[in-house]
Amino acid sequence: MAEPLLAISDLSLTYETPRGALQALDGVSLAVEAGEAVAVVGESGSGKSSVALAIMGLLGREAMLSGSIRFEGRELTGLDAKARRELRGRAIGMVFQDPFTSLNPSLTIGEQVAEPLVYGRDLRRSAALARAIAALGEVGLANPAALVTAYPHQLSGGMQQRVLIAAAVIAGPRLLVLDEPTTALDVTVEAQILDLLDGLRRDRRLGMLFITHNLGVVNRIADRVCVLYAGRVVELGSREEVLGSPAHPYTKGLLASLPRLSLGERGRRIAPIPGRFPDLTDPPAGCIFAPRCPFVEERCRAETQPLLELAGSRAVRCWKSGALGAWPAPGPPRAATHPLPAQGSAPLVAAQTLSKLYQRGRAGGGLAWSRRLGVLPWPRLRSEIVRAVDRLSLAVGRGEVVGLVGESGSGKSTLGRIMLRLVEPSSGRILFDGADITALPQKALAGLRKRAQIIFQNPDSSLNPRRRVGEAIGRAVVLHADGRVPDLRARVERLLDRVGLPPAYYDRYPHQLSGGEKQRVGIARALATGPRFIVCDEPVSALDVSVQATILNLLGDIRDELGVSYLFISHDLSVVAHIADRIAVMYSGRICEMGTAEAVLAPPYHPYTEALLSAAPTPIPGAQRRQRVRLRGDSAPAAAERAGCPFHSRCPRKLGAICETMEPPLLEPRPGHSIACHLPLAELARVPPVIPAEPCARACGGFDPS
């Protein structure tokens, strides 16, 4: 057999850390053929990036590598710096996760794309720039000639990621290493990038090592899949094999942790992988997954597991992989102690024609004179107005979960914060429990603060790093108690218990917690005032799937038990579909579709909803999927004054001038379901459903290995 393009064998990597040697990779072997896409998946910390950096030779001095990495038959480990550099870009290209930080903010796009040619291929600058323009065109960027003089911050995330891809492939590499290239992007943009990569792979016969934690993305792009856990390959096989009939308990767990974009799933608890990622400076003996494995036996704890070759190219690191049952179901949903209120009763919180305008300096400047103190002419720079929220109305009923989805920058967070009066609206009214709180002075908001709380996306920035967990939660209790709280500690410990943390966490600092634990503290903090309403601003977006599942379960339980209402913000439709009673789809400050979850997930769709649904990746191989709806451009144009439908510039079903000039009417296919669109209802209703009508039965519990 010919030597594969990339062959990694028995790669081990340890990092020197202040706490001792950290075994990040342990005996990793995998191969990539030319023209083949191999996905590496695993949760955070499993060593995915380390593999990529080892291939590129970009590991720091603290890393110690053993084993072999062969590229086109040539050994890469031990190459000197110069030889390595010559391979980078020209033979092996790499694209990093975060386009926002991977481009140099102070160099133009053109220079950054052309660079590998100038310094690697000794091309003249002008020639390299011409090639850069061509390359930018190839990755699907409109008007590449104008782009070369732009700076990164003038581009949207999707465009930046394309630029990075263009720069990675411009010097003609044979292998492309992609480290979570779409994680930071919106689903619609992600889908575009995936299409682009797929095209490149086919056109250039590129080998691709595609790193991701998103099994849906794997399903869309990979030929073969390598599942990594704690630095060990636990399962290796073709996409259909691994996703369709996972052999390793860890893979099963990953798949079971995913909330599904299907109706039958709603309200069910998800089955996450229990336990927590091992400390790699002190890994457990035996099978490294044993402490979290529901199928564990004595033998698992005693013996380290070798990678067992199965049929074909398949391999799995579990001695009893052939005899595993389904991933255990999490049990039936709890009976809600607070039943859902009847539709039509007075909502708890209501936003009425809310707007929020932000001023932003306008590129290109411009000067306007205003008068200060009546006479003094005062120059000020012209700025453009961003309508973060635009005449939007939304109500959240008692005990109801309203999901809010939309792409980045559509104004979701702003809306959530306005409803808590954390951001002052520019116009409109907010009613809380029937009372108008729009104009209340901050001092008079104590009542609202007690009854309405917020949970944030970023577990790192949402806790004060210098404050013990107990203090952070206790402060909220104290603030809203009348007088002293004698049993403060006990109350905080009860709250900790409510979110599933042991009382000892009272004395911990945030940096001593894992991401999921921090999020639990954030939830406990929000619960401390006994709120009726919580704005959940992307509470699970930053978490690994299995942690995400536990948090979703927790939030569901809390709702059922306490009857709290949520405004649940997320860009991930499957998450929203899982937890929300009603869903509002937001685009550029406006709501384009709203209704019960069932109604929104089924036709008729607003064209944007349809696009979102069709772009959402699902991990079910071979599932019947409609062709993806392609949007033009990749972000909403930020026009200062706009008329008509905000979506018209990207809408694939744009009718014509009417969409640009006329505000779309509200269609009501059924009571409580509204769509803002010029297209007639009948037309919208003709669209076939995006999600298979019959939810995949196997998705509910687990997978049979049959």
Partner: protein, 318 residues
């Protein structure tokens, strides 16, 4: 961009106007009295009064301020009360000298400070890094007048390479000029370098850890290009602000070094003015120094914008 500059210039004008009032008030509060200084230790009150009258110091404050301010607006900086010569030529001569000294020191600081900072960052944690820190610590830990004397002793007295002080006359040519500037500039460099090099070091370390530097390496760029083109550009941003403050200081705040090296700069002139209560001279010099400081900051902000395209036009929200 042009409008931004215009706006900033207007703001500077406003600051200077406020300062002119402030300076005027401060100089009035200052104890002591120029008439007394001029008339001397043992002048009779009658003499002092007569001198004050001759200088117009007995007029109401508002009148004095108006006379002074209108003069300045008309481009007339007034006449030094003590030296009895027009302020403008004296001031601008001194300013010219200061600017030269500042320019040379600035070049030294930029070259050595930034260079050291980069080296220390690249060899972060190594011997070179520690040496650079020690060097900078020692530089800032002893007053500049001490270094001044030491440099004079070594380079002027024992080695006799450079003059001990003073400034060359305008007509003597470049060589003497530079030679007079080297020692004071080196002294200033010594005391300024710590700030610049440590800042450069830390921001360089941070930049070298950034994603885009890693990305540049992944593109196969030579290390030199990665360092200079990708990292340095961004790492210099915080340094620029500090350098602007240093420029302001170099122009007006180097009194001590000017005194040690007998260098006729604006700092010494101002001290002279303060000590003799020469109001027009104090006022004009402080105003000029403040103007330069503000301009230096403006330039720094523009440079900042140049190196950081993100804020190129975007300062409007302030």
């Amino acid at each position: 961009m042009a409008f931004y500059v215009l706006k900033r210039l207007l703001a500077i004008a406003a600051i200077l106007a406020v300062m002119s009032v402030l300076i005027f008030l401060i100089t009035q509060i200052l104890p002591g009295n120029v008439a007394q200084v001029i008339a001397g230790q043992f002048a009779s009150p009658e003499t002092v009064a007569a001198v004050a009258h001759r200088l117009g110091l007995d007029q109401p404050l508002l009148v004095q301020y108006w006379r002074w301010a209108s003069g300045i607006l008309g481009g007339d900086l007034g006449v030094s009360l003590v030296m009895e010569r027009p302020v403008a030529p004296v001031l601008f001569h001194a300013l010219g000298n200061s600017a030269l000294l500042a320019a040379l020191s600035f070049v030294f600081v930029v070259l050595v400070g930034i260079g050291l900072g980069i080296l220390a960052a690249i060899r972060h944690g190594g011997i070179l890094d520690h040496c650079a820190s020690i060097f900078t610590y020692v530089g800032i830990s002893v007053p500049e007048f001490f270094w001044g004397i030491v440099l004079i002793l070594v380079f002027a007295r024992y080695l006799d390479w450079l003059p001990s002080g003073g400034a060359a006359a305008w007509g003597e040519g470049l060589g003497p000029w530079i030679s007079h500037l080297v020692l004071p500039a080196a002294t200033l460099t010594f005391t300024l370098i710590a700030h610049v090099s440590r800042l450069t070091r830390s921001s360089m370390i941070e930049t070298l850890r950034s994603q885009y530097v890693r990305n540049a390496r992944a593109k196969g760029l030579p290390e030199r290009v990665v360092l200079l083109r990708h990292a340095l550009r961004n790492a210099l941003l915080p340094t620029i602000t500090v350098l602007a403050i240093d420029v302001g200081w170099l122009i007006g705040g180097v009194v001590v070094v000017e005194a040690v090296f007998a260098y006729p700069g604006i700092g010494r002139l101002l001290i002279f003015a303060i000590q003799h209560h020469d109001l027009p001279l104090i006022q004009a010099s402080i105003l000029v120094i403040a103007a330069i400081y503000c301009l230096a900051n403006l330039i720094a902000d523009l440079l900042y914008a140049y190196f950081n395209p993100k804020i190129r036009y975007g300062r409007a929200s302030a």
